[in-house]
């Protein structure tokens, strides 16, 4: 995904999402350390975020599930950020938005933010060190 070039329109976003090779973090990890579930009930978005850790740092982040393209973009953005930042701590909203690089309408905010919020909830409630528990749906 070209991170520096903004996605010019919603149609472009759909084309991006349609080509699965653009989203390098879409898939399932074989042995994740943690699996998180983010749901936007009213929209029908359900995204699984899977993480592998090494030395208490994020090593790999992948996502999968049924979602609209904006949720998928938000998920891809978060996975990219998590692998880059590595630290198991909240990602600043402005950092996330800068990386997302896409103008969305206020109505779609919860789609874009779904995985960001899922991560924020996880790091604000989960004590260190990272356990290997799988959070069930």
């Amino acid at each position: 995904m070209e991170k520096d070039k903004p996605i010019s329109s919603f149609k472009n976003l759909l084309e991006l999402v349609g080509g699965s090779s653009h989203f390098k973090h879409r898939g399932l990890l074989s042995h994740p350390d943690v699996t998180l579930l983010g749901i936007n009930e009213s929209c029908g978005d359900k995204i699984i975020l899977q993480l592998k850790f090494k030395d208490n740092k994020v090593q790999q982040a992948f996502f999968n599930g049924e979602s609209c393209s904006l949720s998928a973009l938000g998920a891809e953005t978060m996975c990219t950020l998590l692998e880059k930042e590595k630290a198991v701590k909240p990602i600043e909203e402005k950092t996330f938005l800068k990386s997302l690089n896409f103008n969305f309408s206020p109505v779609r905010k919860k789609c874009a933010y779904l995985v960001w919020k899922t991560w924020q909830n996880y790091v604000s409630s989960k004590p260190q060190p990272i356990s290997k528990k799988k959070i069930k749906e």
Binding site: F10, K11, L14, V17, G18, E41, S42, C43, G44, D45, K46, E66, S67, C68, S69, L70, R108, C111
Partner: protein, 413 residues
Amino acid sequence: MLKFKGMSQDYFPVFKKKNAKEPPLVYFDNAATTQKPQSVLNAMNEVYTAFNANVYRGNYYWSEKTTALYSACRQKVASFIGASHSEEIIFTRNTTESINLVAQILARDYFKKGDEIIVSIAEHHSNYLPWWQLAQTHHLKLKIIGLNSEGYFDLEQFKKTLSPKTKLVAIAGVTNVLGTINPLKEIISLSHKIGSLVLVDGAQLISHLPVNINNLDCDFLAFSGHKMYGPTGIGVLYAKKLWLSQTEPLLLGGEMVNNFDGNSVCWANVPQKFEAGTPAYIEAIGLGAAIDYLNKVGFSAIEEREKVLLQNAFVGLQNIKEVTILGPQTLKDRSSIIAFNLKGIHAHDLSELLAEKGIMVRAGVHCAGPLHSMLKIPASTRLSFGVYNTLAEVKYFLKILQEINQSVNYGKR
């Protein structure tokens, strides 16, 4: 040919474009809320600008006038649904509040541990959650009726599920996702035979099909003003006069007492007994104007218009092989709602692409989570028609949908 020009979008100020270059305004989300005719806006504006005063309280002209209009609107609602007494009409905020009011009263006065409540899988959350919650908190059993193989309410399963323990059946007149018209008369008759009460969620029914309470004989009917060309903030609960007069109120405060001296209380008569505090009298007046509008249009004209829209949309959608229509695959017993999915694109994305072309539809689970879970689909796109929608709009929608389909499924830009 319009029989009454009030069905034209000219009669609805929201459709007036500021300039000709604006994109089309195709509003296909009437199940969520309807647009308001000028007459409704005039009726409410007149109160605000000419004689606004709280009802019942003032010994002066303005209050007398609003009180008279408010009472007249209650009678209009009663006549609209064929109720024998205007006292059987309780004004609430909306359908959801009406249903919750009944749920709380029944929980307090009626249900016993082990009693059963029946709902259908296709109910809106507002007619599912209150009963689901009561089942948890009051040790009741919630029984869910599914869909038959054609996608309709499974009447055979319902007959087998009814038992002497069934104390309430809560059912939509028209379902808000599938658009199916439930066999209310049969459901009510069967329920009453075993001694169960019946609540009808009339939110999607009330502005599409005529309702006659004496004919239906349901115990409760709930509906919202804003889904029948009236304002938001006003809803109706119909309940039988005998039940209302024997039931203690739930919400307490001003207006619903005849006398309270700090030691003893004497409740007001029905319906004021159930309307604590200042009512939404201006909204009720708006609802009255909406009923006048619907009476002027007439249900024959409404059904005729909606039949054309539904038929053309349904057949047009069926002709796109990448489209899956939810629920029955025929037009039998269907009202003017169609939910569908287009292969290769999430409902939310589809609705955004349609919106870019001026077509307003709803996408998601439409507050019908259990139904979507049962159907194993994450979301759907929903069309729902109103009196002002036109065949030209349906054709435009189908044209745009086909373009999107070509782009998504055939790579054609």
